[in-house]
């Protein structure tokens, strides 16, 4: 009997494989739902872990997390017409600016009509123990050290990355805080081939970013995303970089915390932050002329109105703000806000409405 069984084994295996292939091709075995989540680069580390845990709880959903600079995240949806189920950016204001009133082709719907504010951060200076003057730098002398021609500085490109235009805001706010009118020019303005002008009107300082943003000096490195500056710090090619606190901590870098009056972290200083804005000095996008206002750093997310899987997207967002999701984010130095704030609470999916409160019209 055994001999007969072994003899037939190859035929049995072949039959089973054929049956499996037939079932698969006939659609009898359910395929996983593919959920696309596009996020700001600074969220990638915690989001990768969220993805793993979510897929464990929802095995029929396969999550794909993709990261870009925040402006690019939204441009992928509104201008490159990629479909995503959830988007999350490092500056919530980009969502209403670039998605509200911007209609999906062939539809009467905007790309989005609500967003959740869900996390904060602060901006400071990342460095390593081998950076020049690493043992001397502090919150009183940082701008003097960074002005030293021997010190190399990294900044992300303000045309693509929220961290880049926020670093410019920080330097302008530093002029007001330290009462030193040369900080912006010495750290940023003078280091590009094309002039970067700062004009003041009614107490508001507007930084105009030229279309060509090219370093004039070898002591400045510009990269398209702040995450790329981390590698230059590791290799010693630059000494310091403007960086989010969460990202610096996730990568084990030294991080110089700056006064709350300039680090864009605190709602208590909203009014003083609003004294600066950054304007791209040309038509950057099809639909909007971006002007970025000085505000506390607040991350925002939404489910686009053309999301292929809105129901599963809402499950993912709910998981993100569950006890488990919050714990993961906290572990990766990106704590989530409690409560979440929605600008249009009634438009949220039903399962998310109880997680948020309608924001005060005057907050942020």
């Amino acid at each position: 009997v055994t001999a007969i069984t072994y003899k037939r084994l190859p035929a049995v295996i072949t039959s089973l494989v054929l049956l499996f292939v037939l079932l698969l091709s006939a659609g009898c075995i359910p395929k996983k739902t593919e959920l696309w989540v596009i996020v700001a680069g600074s969220l990638l580390v915690p989001m990768d872990q969220i993805e793993t845990e979510f897929e464990r709880e929802y095995p029929d959903i396969d999550v794909f997390v993709e990261g870009h600079g925040s402006i690019q995240v939204i441009r992928h949806i509104t201008e490159l017409h990629h479909e995503a189920d959830v988007i999350a950016v490092a500056d919530y204001s980009l969502i209403p600016m670039m998605m509200y009133g911007n209609y999906i082709p062939g539809s009467d719907d905007s790309y989005a009509d609500w967003h959740l504010k869900f996390s904060t951060n602060s901006l400071g200076i990342a460095y390593t123990s081998t950076s020049k003057y690493a043992d001397e730098i502090n919150s009183s002398n940082w701008y003097q050290i960074l002005s030293d021609p021997e010190v190399t500085l990294g900044i992300s490109d303000a045309r693509f990355d929220a961290c880049g235009y926020r670093a410019m805001m920080l330097c302008q706010l530093a002029e007001l805080y330290y009462e030193n009118t040369s900080i912006f020019e010495r750290l940023i303005g003078s280091r590009f081939t094309q002039p970067m002008t700062v004009t003041e009107s009614g107490g508001v300082y507007t930084i105009s970013v030229p279309e060509v943003l090219e370093p004039a000096k070898s002591n400045l490195a510009v990269r398209g995303n702040s995450v790329w500056l981390l590698f230059l710090l590791d290799s010693g090619d630059i000494d310091y970089a403007f960086q989010y606190r969460s990202v610096a901590e996730q990568h084990g870098l030294e991080f110089l915390e700056l006064p709350a009056e300039i680090d864009l972290s605190s709602e208590n200083h909203s009014e003083s932050y609003s004294r600066v804005k950054v304007r791209l000095d040309y038509q950057r996008f099809q639909t909007v002329q971006p002007e970025f206002y000085g505000e506390p750093i607040v991350y925002g997310l939404t489910i686009p109105n053309n999301a292929p899987h809105p129901e599963q997207a809402a499950q993912f967002v709910e998981f993100l703000f569950s006890r488990e999701g919050r714990s993961i984010s906290s572990d990766y130095h990106q704590p989530l806000m409690t409560p979440l704030q929605a600008d249009n609470l009634g438009a949220l999916p039903d399962n998310l409405q109880s997680l948020a409160e309608q924001e005060d019209e005057h907050s942020y």
Binding site: G41, E211, V212, N225, V227
Partner: protein, 192 residues
């Protein structure tokens, strides 16, 4: 010596088959002469410099092509390529409308009005380049091109058909935001 007699019906059959194969080969040969994969592409490229001219796709294909191997990566490190790329140099295109000098820069625009600028230095190869492990490396002889062929095939719509910016060199990567899709305009602009 042995002589085999072949039936006449077999000879006729053999002749018919030979004729059919010959006809098929001739037809295929004729098609390959006239049937370029670019025949169906209707696209105008506007060049603005000292004057404004419009090139159609056929005129672009008649320019000297430049080839190289390169790729790009997204802002968080997803590597695309390197690919075998063929296209037309942006500097060659600029030369058709007066050329570009160091007090000028070039703006390329897409049909969706998205644009990207390239400085004089960049058009002469000044880019940060990376190997496929995303380590920064030195690279000479970089050329910014309007790509129309990738790995021997015309670009697909998703890849930026029919014209997309590429920075080509010897197996190097550059940041993806330079690789603008669907280009329909190249302008030479003066700094104010």
């Amino acid at each position: 010596l042995k002589i085999f007699r072949v039936p006449q019906t077999s000879i006729r059959l053999l002749l018919l088959i030979t004729l059919a194969i010959s006809a098929a080969l001739v037809t295929a040969s004729c098609n390959s002469d006239t049937g370029s994969v670019y025949d169906d592409i209707e696209w105008d490229l506007t060049l603005v410099g000292d004057e404004e001219i419009v090139l159609d796709f056929d005129q672009l294909l008649k320019m000297d092509p430049i080839s190289g191997t390169s790729g790009f990566f997204t802002s968080v490190g997803i590597v695309n390529g390197p690919f075998d790329i063929k296209g037309v140099s942006i500097l060659d295109l600029c030369d058709l409308v007066g050329g570009v000098n160091s007090s000028e820069f070039v703006r390329v625009s897409a049909i969706d009005q998205y644009s990207m600028v390239f400085s004089y230095n960049q058009l002469h190869g000044d880019f940060i380049t990376y190997d496929t492990g995303l380590h920064e490396i030195e690279s000479d002889d970089l050329v910014t091109v309007l790509m129309y062929e990738l790995d021997g095939e015309p670009l697909t719509e998703d890849l930026g058909s029919p014209l997309r910016i590429a920075i080509i060199g010897d197996n190097v990567l550059t940041e993806g935001h330079y690789w603008v899709k669907w280009i329909d305009k190249v302008e030479i602009l003066h700094f104010d």
